[in-house]
């Protein structure tokens, strides 16, 4: 079943006299349980696509079907509810609330659930999401008391807590070192395999995109390639010091 169907999505920004065609014509279909990595350089339109997929923005034209419902014309208030129920966000900067415990951070989406949840229900759901991320012993820690990897796992727990249909991860490893990045990618792969959650990953690093089951490349607001991928499954960072590779390659060219 298709979780996401995009038909001729266009997004145009008007900045004064300039017209920016962020998305020119994107048609895309994502099946349930796919791990789609969207790559592309800055200005390729991948962030705009991410915002539209995440219901944070509405397309200028085209049709967006999410779980079989057309959401492209919905008002912002309705989109807020869709974000709350169907979409989990994971950000590059984690976006955890400072001086707030891990549990309370994970509870944030639950505050806006309808029907309203009791504080006991919220706490139970947050604690079980944290346990599933292996953070059962960190529930009362503040973000400043957690490592980068732990913080991103709290953020993933927050994305998962409402049992969304899709997780949108926007450069989730951008602030992490190699080892932790691999851990996070492994975690996302497990979520896909074990819970069947559809994952959309935005990254500009090919090494990270390689963990997906499908890699979409974008350029100038268009999809330039869309290929199935055998997900990378080696999690030994000593053999995959991919961040060092471009430097080696550059040296070799010289």
């Amino acid at each position: 079943m298709s979780v996401i169907t995009l038909e001729n999505i266009k997004k145009t920004y008007y900045l004064g006299d300039n017209t920016v065609n962020a998305l020119r014509d994107v048609t895309l279909n994502v099946e349930e349980g796919e791990f789609v990595a969207i790559t592309g350089p800055s200005g390729s339109g991948k962030s705009t696509l991410m915002h539209i997929l995440g219901c944070l923005d509405r397309p200028t034209s085209g049709k967006y079907m999410l779980n079989g419902n057309d959401v492209s014309g919905l008002p912002m208030e309705a989109l807020a509810e869709i974000r709350n129920r169907q979409i989990g966000f994971v950000f590059q900067g984690f976006n955890l609330l400072p001086r707030t415990t891990a549990t309370e951070n994970v509870e944030v989406p639950l505050l806006y659930s309808r029907p309203v949840l009791t504080s006991a229900e919220r706490k139970d759901m947050a604690l079980s999401a944290l346990s599933s991320m292996g953070l059962a012993d960190r529930v009362d820690h503040h973000p400043s008391q957690l490592s980068g990897g732990q913080q991103q796992r709290v953020a993933i727990a927050r994305a998962l807590v409402n049992n969304p249909a899709i997780i949108l991860a926007d450069e989730p490893t951008g602030n992490l070192d190699t080892k932790t990045s691999i851990e996070v990618m492994k975690l996302l792969q497990e979520l896909r395999k074990e819970k069947g959650i559809t994952i959309i990953l935005i990254t500009h690093e090919p090494e990270i995109a390689a963990y997906g089951t499908r890699i979409i490349s974008m350029r100038d607001g268009l999809v330039v390639s869309d290929e199935a991928n055998t997900p990378r499954e080696d999690f030994d960072e000593t053999r995959t010091a991919y961040k060092a590779e471009p430097v080696v390659a550059a040296a070799a060219v010289e």
């Binding site: 915002h51 912002m76 509810e81 974000r83 966000f89 989406p109 505050l111 806006y112 659930s113 504080s119």
Partner: protein, 443 residues
């Protein structure tokens, strides 16, 4: 919306407790404003009460009706004299005054007599006043010992303090006094120092009237509910008594002409306010008497002016405190608005995150509105405590009673909450209109 209230309250208190110094400074305007409002209400009420008490205890709310009409001056200034003594003032007049004229607190019929009274075989010449039990209320008596005459008791007496000293060496209560064939038991000593009251023996007027074998009264003493109404009351009493005594009504303005022309019947009573009486003391010159007898508006002007001056003083003070309170509440509100705007700028990413995870615009607006109201209400509570303290301190140092009603306290908190609502709504609206994408991008 209201189901979110506990959550929003917790978010608000946490956010405010993160910057305790900033929170306190922000609340300062509200604190001062509410404290000023409360001090104003406390002292305003107290001061007004004191002023009214003082005016009342000075006796300016008392009106006398005297039987007869002795116009002072007489031949020497060429004014027609009044009727002289009369026996037309009766108890029914007193009751009619109480029943028909508004704003009267108490009325006491009076009979006055200078005579010998005897006790333990000793005769003393003194003044005796027949009164009703209301007399002690009219003059705000305190009893230094014993009690006031009991209602309906025929043979009780109250004695003035000086007379009690000279006759009984102070131990007057329980002593018996004989007067015109009746024996009275003294039940109390009054501390009154008004006029010659310390030297008077007070007995029930009915008993005195019987023993004198008469049916009229010498006087009626009237207490107005409010100081400053005595002029109106004395005017109405005159009209009422003229009607009751069958005296042709006439215009006061033409009084002098009518009197000298002789065509009109003079009154058989005199109505006087205590203020006018006080003015005439020591002014028994024919000219002064002429002025007083023929300027019935004089005491009115004096009283009204006195009441107005007191009102003006108290209004000025209230206006001063009210403007301090108003200005600091507005400044406090602006402070809250300012800090809320700063806080929203600092927490733009948080707002973006909340929106991305499903918060609607209304949820975000409510969160910040409740934070602003929490800020102002906590400030209001601190201001309430400070206001009560300052009212006590000022009241104590100026000797004013400071009273604050629960309504006033609730009102102060209500004002604080309203300030929070008014000045928090703009920042809350700004927060709710943020675009989640831009908000999440903010560094």
């Amino acid at each position: 919306m209201f189901t979110m209230l506990p959550v929003n309250l917790r978010l608000a208190t946490r956010s405010l407790s993160r910057n305790p110094m900033r929170t306190l400074l922000t609340m300062l305007g509200i604190i001062i404003g509410v404290a000023a409002v409360l001090t104003m209400v406390a002292l305003g009420t107290g001061a007004r009460g004191t002023v009214e008490d003082e005016v009342a205890s000075a006796g300016t709310n008392i009106v006398f009706v005297k039987s007869g009409n002795y116009t002072r001056g007489g031949d020497s200034v060429g004014i027609a004299a009044g009727r002289g003594a009369a026996t037309t003032l009766i108890e029914a007049d007193a009751n009619a005054i109480l029943d028909n004229i508004a704003g009267i607190r108490a009325v006491s019929p009076g009979l006055s007599l200078r005579t010998f009274i005897s006790s333990n075989g000793e005769n003393v010449f003194t003044r005796v006043l027949g009164i009703a039990v209301e007399f002690s209320d009219i003059y705000s008596w305190n009893m230094t010992s014993g009690r006031m005459l009991a209602p309906g008791a025929a043979n009780e007496a109250v004695i003035g303090s000086t007379l009690a000293q000279t006759m009984f060496g102070g131990n007057a209560v329980g002593q018996e006094v004989e007067l015109r064939g009746n024996t009275y038991t003294i039940v109390g000593i009054t501390d009154s120092a008004i006029d010659d009251q310390p030297e008077i023996l007070f007995v029930p007027w009915q008993t005195l009237q019987q023993s004198m074998d008469i049916s009229h009264l010498d006087s009626i003493t009237i207490a107005a509910e409010k100081a400053g109404e005595t002029s109106r009351i004395s005017g109405e009493v005159s009209v009422l008594l003229r009607a009751r005594h069958g005296i042709e009504s006439r215009d006061d303005v033409n009084f002098l002409a009518a009197q000298s022309g002789g065509g009109v019947e003079p009154d058989d009573f005199t109505v006087e306010t205590q203020a006018a009486q006080a003015l005439t003391k020591g002014l028994y010159t024919p000219a002064a008497a002429f002025a007083l007898a023929n300027l019935p508006k004089l005491d009115e002007v004096t009283l009204d002016e006195m009441a107005n001056t007191l009102d003006r003083a108290s209004n000025t003070m209230t206006a001063l405190l009210a403007s301090i309170a108003g200005v600091s509440l507005i400044v406090g509100g602006i402070g809250i608005m300012n800090i809320m705007l700063v806080s929203i700028t600092e927490r733009t990413r948080e707002i973006g995150l909340r929106m991305a995870t499903g918060a609607r615009s209304a949820d975000v607006a409510m969160q910040f509105l409740i934070e602003a109201v929490t800020l102002s209400v906590i400030g209001g509570c601190i201001g309430l405590i400070l206001g009560l303290l300052s009212a006590k301190v000022i009241g104590w140092s100026l000797g004013w009673p400071a009273s604050v009603s629960l309504t006033a306290m609730a009102m102060a908190i209500g004002i604080a909450a309203t300030i929070g609502l008014i000045f928090g709504s703009y920042p809350a609206r700004r927060a709710s209109l943020l675009d989640p994408i831009d908000a999440l991008r903010t560094e």
